[in-house]
C-alpha cells in the first residue's frame, strides 16, 4: 500500500514540476522566441497547470487511500489502482494538450514571429567538451548477461523441471515455470534487451542535436552538456543496479534453487533507491543549469524546430541523423521517428513485455 501511495505522490509531484523543468524557451512544447520567455501569460499558465495537476493528484490520492480502507478484495484493489494512475496520467496529458494549443495560439495572435530576428547559432567545440560515458560502460553489462546465459546452459542439467518466476508482494513464490531451453534464459533475455536499448540510448544521447539559444549561449551550452553528462551517468547507474538485481535473482533461483533468499528485498530496494534518487539528482543538476535569461538585450532568437514536432511530443526530422532528441516538454529524451533505428529501439523496449506475457 505504501508503495502505491508513494507512486501516486511521486508521479503527481513530477507532473506538477514538468513545465518548470524544461528550458525557458520551451513552454508546453512550443518554442518561445527568446525576447518573450518572460511573458507574464506564460508564467501564469505554468502556475495554473501546476495547481490543476496538484488538485487532480490530491483527489486521486484521496481516492486511492479510500480504496485501501474499503472492503474491496486485494487483487481488485491493485487493478483499480493501476487504472486510477492511468486516468490521472491521461487527465494531465489532456491538460497539457489544451495548454499546448493555447500557447501556440498566443504566439500567433501576438505575432511574436514578426517581431523577432531569427539567427542560426552553434558552437564547433561543444562536442569535444562533452562528457558522456564511453560505450564501455554500457557494453560491460551486456557481456555479463551473455556470460550468465552461457553459464545457465552449462548447468542446464541440474536445473529442476519447474522453477520460480513470480513473487507476490509478501515475497512468496506464486508463479512457476516449466524448464525449457528458452524459459531458463527468459530473465537474462529480458535483461539483455533492456541493456541493448540502454546502449543505443547512450549512443543516441551523444549524437543528439545541440540547440543553443542566441542570447544565453554560454548558459545553453552548459545546460546541454549537463543534460548529456548526467543523463548518461543516470542511465549507467540504472543499468548496473538492474544488472546486479537480475543476475542475483536469476543465479539464486535457477542455479542455487533458492526461491526465498532474504537478500531479494534489500536488493530490490537498492534498485528503486538508485532509480528514484538518481532521477532526483538528475533533475536537481538540470534545473541548476537552466538558462535564466536575466538580460534580454535584442530581439534575436535561435531558430526553432517546431515544424518537426507534432503536438510538441513526437519528433520526426529526416534531416536529423541522430536517434534521440531532448524532449520539448519535460526532461529526458525522445526518439526521432525519421531514424530507422528508433523502431528497433521501440521493439527492443517492448520485447520484455511480450516475453513476460507469452512465456
Amino acid at each position: 500500500m505504501l508503495i502505491i501511495v508513494g507512486i501516486f505522490i511521486i508521479v503527481g509531484i513530477m507532473e506538477m514540476m514538468t513545465p518548470h523543468l524544461t528550458r525557458k524557451t520551451l513552454v508546453f512544447g512550443v518554442s518561445i522566441p527568446e525576447p518573450y520567455v518572460k511573458h507574464p501569460q506564460l508564467k501564469l499558465w505554468k502556475k495554473y497547470y501546476s495547481q490543476i495537476i496538484a488538485g487532480i493528484a490530491g483527489l486521486f490520492l484521496v481516492g486511492q487511500i479510500a480504496l485501501f480502507l474499503s472492503p474491496i478484495q486485494e487483487e481488485k484493489v491493485s487493478l483499480i489502482s493501476f487504472i486510477l494512475l492511468y486516468v490521472m496520467l491521461l487527465l494531465s496529458s489532456g491538460l497539457y494538450m489544451s495548454y499546448h494549443a493555447k500557447t501556440k495560439k498566443l504566439k500567433v495572435q501576438e505575432q511574436w514571429e514578426a517581431q523577432i530576428k531569427t539567427v542560426y547559432v552553434t558552437d564547433l567545440s561543444i562536442r569535444q567538451k562533452e562528457e558522456t560515458l564511453s560505450p564501455i560502460f554500457f557494453s560491460v553489462p551486456i557481456i555479463i548477461t551473455l556470460a550468465l546465459i552461457a553459464f545457465t546452459y552449462m548447468n542446464y542439467e541440474s536445473i529442476p523441471e519447474v522453477f520460480a518466476t513470480h513473487w507476490n508482494g509478501a515475497g512468496e513464490v506464486d508463479g512457476w515455470t516449466q524448464k525449457s531451453r528458452l524459459s531458463v534464459i527468459s530473465m537474462p533475455l529480458i535483461l539483455l534487451a533492456i541493456q541493448i536499448s540502454f546502449f543505443m540510448m547512450s549512443q543516441g544521447m551523444k549524437s543528439a542535436k545541440i540547440q543553443l539559444s542566441a542570447q544565453a549561449k554560454e548558459a545553453s551550452i552548459h545546460r546541454e552538456l549537463t543534460q548529456r553528462k548526467y543523463g548518461s551517468w543516470y542511465l549507467a547507474a540504472i543499468n548496473f543496479s538492474m544488472t546486479i538485481l537480475f543476475v542475483v535473482l536469476h543465479y539464486t533461483t535457477v542455479i542455487l534453487q533458492d526461491q526465498t533468499a532474504p537478500y531479494f528485498f534489500p536488493l530490490f530496494l537498492v534498485f528503486n533507491v538508485v532509480t528514484l534518487g538518481g532521477l532526483l539528482v538528475f533533475i536537481w543538476k538540470l534545473s541548476k543549469s537552466n538558462e535564466r535569461f536575466d538580460e534580454v538585450h535584442t530581439n534575436e532568437t535561435a531558430a526553432t524546430d517546431d515544424q518537426y514536432w507534432k503536438w510538441g511530443i513526437f519528433y520526426c526530422n529526416k534531416n536529423d541523423p541522430s536517434l534521440l532528441v531532448p524532449k520539448k516538454f519535460g526532461i529526458g529524451w525522445t526518439v526521432n521517428f525519421a531514424n530507422k533505428w528508433c523502431y528497433i529501439l521501440i521493439a527492443i523496449t517492448l520485447l520484455p513485455i511480450l516475453l513476460v506475457i507469452f512465456i
Partner: protein, 125 residues
C-alpha cells in the same frame, strides 16, 4: 568557436558559415586534424538546410582548408605553417587587390589601411 549566422545579412548563409569556420582556423581555435561536425548534424544543430552546410563545406574543400572524408567527416587541413606555392600567393593577391582598391578609391589613407591590416592580423596568432 561560436557560429552565428544571420539570414537578413546580404551575405548568403553558406558564405557566412564558411567565413566563420575560416576565421576559427585563422584564430587557431580549429587546428590541423580537428574534425568538423558532419554535414547533417551541423545542419540540425544550426537549424538550417543540409544543402547549405554542404555547399559551405565544399567551398572550404575547394579552398584546400578541409578534407571531406567518407562517413561524412570533414577534417581541417589548413592552419599549419608551411611554404605557400607561388600560385597561392598570387591568388590571395588577386582576391585582396579589388577590396583594397575599392577602399583606396573611397578615400581611405594608406596609413589607415596598414593599421587596419595590423589590427586584423593581431586577432590571429
Amino acid at each position: 568557436m561560436q557560429i552565428q549566422l544571420d539570414p537578413n545579412s546580404e551575405l548568403q548563409l553558406y558564405k557566412q558559415l564558411a567565413n566563420q569556420i575560416i576565421e576559427c582556423i585563422a584564430q587557431g581555435e580549429l587546428k590541423n586534424g580537428d574534425t568538423l561536425p558532419s554535414v547533417r548534424s551541423m545542419a540540425t544543430d544550426l537549424g538550417i538546410n543540409v544543402s547549405t552546410v554542404s555547399k559551405s563545406y565544399h567551398e572550404l574543400e575547394e579552398k584546400g582548408l578541409i578534407e571531406l572524408k567518407p562517413k561524412a567527416k570533414a577534417v581541417i587541413i589548413g592552419g599549419q605553417k608551411r611554404e605557400l606555392e607561388e600560385t597561392e600567393v598570387e591568388k590571395v593577391e588577386n582576391a585582396l587587390k579589388p577590396i583594397m582598391a575599392e577602399a583606396f578609391a573611397r578615400g581611405l589613407e594608406k596609413e589607415q589601411m596598414t593599421s587596419l591590416f595590423q589590427r586584423i592580423l593581431k586577432q590571429w596568432k
